[in-house]
Amino acid sequence: MVDFSSDAARRGFFSPQRYDAELLDCEVEGTLPADLQGTFVRLGGEWFYPPSRPDDAILHADGYISTFRFRDGRVAFKGKYVRTPRFKANLKAGRQLFGYYRNRFTDDPSVQGIDGTVSNTTPLVHAGKLFALKEDSLPHEIDPVTLDTIGPWDFHGKYRSQTFSAHPKIDPATGEMICYGNEATGPASKDVFVYAVDRSGQVTREARFQVPYVSIMHDIALTEKHIIFPFAGYVTSMERLREGRIHWGWDRTKESYIGIMPRDGDGRDVRWFRGPERCMMHTFNAQTVGDKVVLYAPFYDSNFFPFFPNVDGSPWDPSRAKAYVRRLTFDLNSRRDTWEEEILFPTPIGDLGRIDPRYLTRTNRYCYTGFSDPTRPFDETRGGNLRGRVTNSYARFDLQANRMDRYFAGDTHSLQECCFIPRSADAPEGDGYLIGIASNYAEMRSELVIVDAQRMGEGDIARVIMPFRAGPQVHGIWVRHDELAPFPKVEMVDS
């Protein structure tokens, strides 16, 4: 029997939904732009069975892939759980068989040989395939027509790391994908394997190196010449896992590290730079400028995740879990092993940062992310007192003009990660749309907002009104209709 009643917090807006769903022709307020032709793909986690440990990480919830397909001013929604081996094993047993986040010692003995990934982090389209990614296993291929799960993909046997990344980078100039596996040879291993995969999906290069200490390496950055590998603070070990604890802990005494490797180099060419305590999860973009590498990233001051406890036993400190738009400059000509860091805007932000994907590796002007604007109202009567505690706005940071533009979603809303959609293939940078899911706490449902990215202060130009909650999202991507055959299949439209 499925029973979530032991978790009092998982009520109201966070009560379990556990559905596969399809809306053939969604309700829309406003007018969808005619040039919005493609699919917004989201991936996130939603517990299908309650976690076996009540303090487990939400990052361990079952992967759920969903799509909004836009065509001729109409939009259709489809969502499905990713049928990982773990999901299927749980469904067969009718209960949660898996233990703490990425600790196989805490799993039920019956699933020891089963891939434990939940594939819940980032959707990816490359070489004509759609994938669901999580950094603890191989990509899971998804049928774009049906959103059914096909299974793990190892790039014709040429990808040898046990793990993949939630954030591979695709060079917009060549279509080449740079991807990697952290803890590549098993849990708590120091090994990192890096791969180049050409636009046809063939592995062309592999590099291997070891990190100074094992940590989360959730995202990288890519320039035209270099790959940048940041990690900091989080620690694990086989001893920790054998003790039955959650995979990661936070050690504030650990220095942060950033490795820089030439794209045509190998593991011996990685140069490590060291810095102060930081929580480095996501990046915006990076460039190689002469002998310098410049990285833009929304790094946190300290541990962002309360479910990855401090190893010194101190409580999680929300006042230090603050992220800012930062610029880190590395002088490759200097013997110094650290970087110069600047906070470019004083506003605390969410770290799910995005850019115009056509400008990856190149100098870009705009960065986008969500943030909590305390100056905007929150309707406590209708939505509960969440003022200042939820992401109620999107921001566009203009790195050239040092200017911040804002979009406010509403006084009972919070926003999930935004995604930038260029208006056309040859539109100037910043000319396009921001798209993202807004949670409407007053009405217990979600809305997909579409915002003109150059007129954010004017509000959204359209909202897709959903009759239910869209579920948590970690990351989303926009797939042009000419990038992959229009997907998923929609009744009457494609029949």
């Binding site: 917090a9 009520r11 807006f13 966070f14 309700e27 939400i58 969440l386 007053a442 217990m444």
Partner: protein, 103 residues
């Protein structure tokens, strides 16, 4: 493309809705201008006698004015249990982030 319906009596509500095709923000903006005008013209200094119970109550649903079609003059309130933020609002920052770290 479609608009939400208000249930029983929706044709009346729709008709009113079309007549008052203003968003919540526009209504508040208008009310603010009215208040500003009243304050600057001295009208506000005159004691106002408000009826104990007004004949209509203005509220909002989906960012548009809502008029209770039953005549009972009830404002729109979400059905019981629909205030999805009520339970999360009672949680600490840590409990909230444990539920959904990307709120």
């Amino acid at each position: 493309m479609s608009r939400g319906k208000a249930g029983a009596g929706s044709s009346v509500v729709d008709a009113i809705g079309r007549r008052f095709a203003a968003t919540r923000r526009q209504v508040f903006f208008g009310a603010s201008l009215g208040a500003l005008f009243a304050a600057t013209s001295g009208v506000a200094a005159v004691p106002l006698r408000l009826p104990h119970r007004t004949g209509s109550v203005l509220s909002f649903h989906r960012d548009e004015p809502w008029f209770d079609a039953t005549g009972a003059a009830h404002p729109w309130t979400p059905p019981d249990g629909y205030r999805g933020g009520r339970i999360p609002a009672g949680l600490s920052d840590e409990q909230l982030r444990r539920l959904d770290c990307y709120l």
